[in-house]
C-alpha cells in the first residue's frame, strides 16, 4: 500500500539541499539500520586481520616453548603478565599467538571448504535444475541422501578413515557440504526459471546461456553469499569438533580445535587453556552469523529500501 514510487510527491523531497550535518545523520541512520551487518563485518575483519598479520601482531611464534613461563594465566589475573596477555599453555606457548595463528587454520579450512562446497553444489544444482528429468533424479538422489544423514557422525567417520591433514579436512568439508548448496541452487534456479522476467527474456529471443548469465546468475548471488556466510560459521564448528577428538589437522598445527583438545585435560587447574580458544570460536561464529542474517535481509533488492 505504501508503494514508494516516483510520484510527484516524492520528487519534491529530493530537492531539499543536504548539509554536512544531514549527511552525517543520514550515515548514522544507515549504520543503525544495518547494525547487524556492521557488527558482523567488524568482527569478520578483525579475525581476518589477526590471521593475516599474526606475525606483526605478536612477537611469539605459536610453537615456541618457554617452560619457564608455562601455565601463566591471562594478564587480568593476579599472576598474569602483560608479556603474555592471554597467558601461556602447559608448554609455555603464548596463547595469543596460538589463537592468532589458529585463526589461519580455522578461517582457511572454513573459507576454502565453503568455496569448494559452493562451486560443487552450484554446478550440481544448476545442472539438475536446467537439464532436469533423469539427470535431476540422478544428481538429487545422493544429495538428498547426504542431507538426511546424521552429518557429524559421517564427517567423523570419513575423517577417521582418511586421516588428519589440512587438505583432507578442507576436502571433506567441501564435498560433504556441497549437497546443501546443490539443494538451494536447484530450488532458486527453478524459481527464477519460472519467473515472469525469464519468460519475458525468452519471448524476446534470449538463448539459454543468456538467460543463465544475465537473469539466473545475478539473482543467485544473494542466497549463495548468505549461505556461504552461514556455512563458514558452521565449518569453524566442525573443525573445532574434529580437532577436539583429534581428527582435524595434525596435533602440531595450532588450530582452535586442537587447542581445545589439549586444554581440556587441564580444565580444572588452567581453565584459560579451554576458555580462550572457545571464545575465539564463539566470536568468529557470532560475526559470521550476524553477517549471514544481514545478507539474507539485504540480498533482495525488493526488500531493500532506497536510500531516501
Amino acid at each position: 500500500m505504501a508503494n514508494k514510487s516516483i510520484s510527484h510527491g516524492a520528487d519534491s523531497r529530493l530537492e531539499i539541499e543536504s548539509t554536512f550535518k544531514d549527511r552525517l545523520s543520514y550515515l548514522g541512520r544507515l549504520l543503525w539500520r544495518d547494525r547487524t551487518g556492521v557488527v558482523g563485518i567488524l568482527i569478520f575483519t578483525t579475525v581476518v586481520i589477526a590471521a593475516v598479520f599474526a606475525e606483526f601482531l605478536t612477537p611469539y611464534k605459536p610453537l615456541d616453548q618457554d617452560l619457564y613461563a608455562s601455565k601463566m594465566p591471562p594478564m587480568w589475573e593476579e599472576e598474569g603478565s602483560p608479556e603474555h596477555p592471554l597467558g601461556t599453555d602447559n608448554l609455555g606457548r603464548d596463547m595469543m599467538a596460538r589463537i592468532f595463528y589458529g585463526a589461519r587454520v580455522s578461517l582457511g579450512v572454513s573459507f576454502f571448504g565453503a568455496i569448494i562446497a559452493a562451486i560443487l553444489g552450484v554446478v550440481l544444482g544448476a545442472v539438475a535444475a536446467y537439464v532436469g528429468g533423469r539427470w535431476d533424479e540422478i544428481i538429487m538422489a545422493p544429495v538428498n541422501l547426504v542431507l538426511s544423514l546424521p552429518y557429524l557422525l559421517f564427517v567423523v567417520f570419513i575423517a577417521s578413515v582418511l586421516g588428519s591433514s589440512l587438505l583432507n579436512v578442507i576436502l571433506i568439508f567441501g564435498v560433504t557440504n556441497s549437497p546443501i548448496f546443490a539443494r538451494v541452487t536447484r530450488g532458486e534456479v527453478l524459481k527464477i526459471r519460472e519467473s515472469a522476467y525469464v519468460e519475458s527474456a525468452i519471448s524476446a529471443g534470449a538463448r539459454w546461456w543468456r538467460v543463465l548469465l544475465f537473469h539466473v546468475m545475478p539473482n543467485l548471488v544473494g542466497p549463495l553469499v548468505t549461505l556461504i556466510s552461514f556455512q563458514i560459521s558452521a565449518m569453524i564448528f566442525y573443525e573445532a569438533g574434529l580437532g577436539f577428538i583429534g581428527l582435524s589437522v595434525p596435533p602440531t598445527v595450532p588450530s582452535w580445535g586442537n587447542m581445545l583438545s589439549e586444554g581440556r585435560r587441564y580444565i580444572s587447574s588452567y581453565p584459560w587453556l579451554t576458555t580462550m580458544p572457545g571464545l575465539a570460536i564463539m566470536y568468529t561464529s557470532l560475526g559470521m552469523n550476524l553477517l549471514g542474517d544481514w545478507l539474507r535481509d539485504v540480498s533482495d533488492p525488493r526488500t531493500r529500501r532506497s536510500g531516501r
Binding site: 538422489a141 545422493p142 538428498n144 541422501l145 538426511s148 544423514l149 546424521p150 552429518y151 557429524l152 557422525l153 559421517f154 567423523v156 567417520f157 570419513i158 577417521s160 578413515v161 582418511l162 560459521s233 564448528f237 573445532a240 569438533g241 577436539f244 577428538i245 581428527l247 581445545l260 581440556r264 580444565i267 580444572s268 581453565p271 579451554t274 576458555t275 572457545g278 570460536i281 564463539m282 561464529s285 557470532l286 552469523n289 550476524l290
Partner: protein, 306 residues
Amino acid sequence: MLKYSFRKVGQSLLLAMGVLILAFAMVRMTGDPASLMMSRNASAEEREAFREVMGFNRPVLVQFGDWITHVFMGDFGDSLHFREPALPLVLQRLPATIRLAATGLAFAILIGIPLGLIAGFRANSLVDFFGRLIALLGQSIPNFWLGLILILIFAQRLGWFPVFGADKPESVVLPAFVLSLPVMGELLRLTRSAALEVRNEDFVRTAFSKGLHRYAIYIQHVLPNVAISLVSVIGVEFGYMLGGSIYIETVFAWPGMGQLVGQALGWRDFPLVQTIVVFTSLVVLGLNLLTDLIYALIDPRIRHGK
C-alpha cells in the same frame, strides 16, 4: 494419504539402501581397509592374514553382497576390540543416548517453542529480544565447549551436578541442556517466524472478525498451523541430536553410542564405528519417515489429498 505414505516409505527404503552403500564404500575409500584397521607396525604377513580373515581380498561386489546379506539378518560384523558381534554392543548403548537426546529435545521444545510463540506474537518486545539472543548464541557457541565450561562452573566449582557419568538422575541435566541449545535456538527462530507468518494470514483476521476470544484464536487457529510447520523440523532435529551427541557424550563421559564412537575410533575398531554410523543413520531415516507420516495425519490437505 495411502499413496503419499507408500511413496514416503519407498523413498525411505531407497535412502536406507544408499546409507548401506555409502557406509560400505567409506571403509574402502582408501583402497586398503586392512592397513586402516591395523596398527602401523603390523607386519606384511599379519596384514595378509587379516585380509584373509576379513575377506578383503575378495572382489568388492562379492564383499558387498556378503555384507548386505548379513546386515539384513541383523549381523553387522564383529567388533575388533571386543571380538564379539557389534550390533548388541551398540544396542546396549542405545537407551542412554535416547535418554540424553529425548531429554535434550524436551528442553528444546519446552523452552524454544513457548519463547518462540511469545516472540512471534509480541515482536520487538523484551521476550523477543532475549529469544533472538538465545537463538543467536545457540548458533554461535560450540556446544561441546559450552559443556566443558558448564562442567567447570556447575560441577566442579559449585558442585550442583555430577561431573560426569550417568549414575544419578540429575546427571542428565547438564549434557541434555548443552545438547539442546542449538536445537532450542533453531526451534525458537522457526516458531517465531511461523507465528509471525500465521498471525498475518488472512484467516486469522477472519477469526478476529468473528469476534472469537483472543486465546481461542491463538489456540484453535494459530497454534495448529504453527505446529504443522514445526512437526517436520522436530523430527529432523531429533535425528541431529542422536548424531550430534558424539561430542557431548565424550565431554560428559555419558555411556551412550556417541561415547562408544569416540572410544572405537581410538581402538581403530572400524567395524564397530561402521555399525554405529549405519545404525544411527537408519534410526534417523526411520524418524524422518515417522515425522512425514505424522505430518500427513495432522494436515488435512495431505490426509484428504491425492
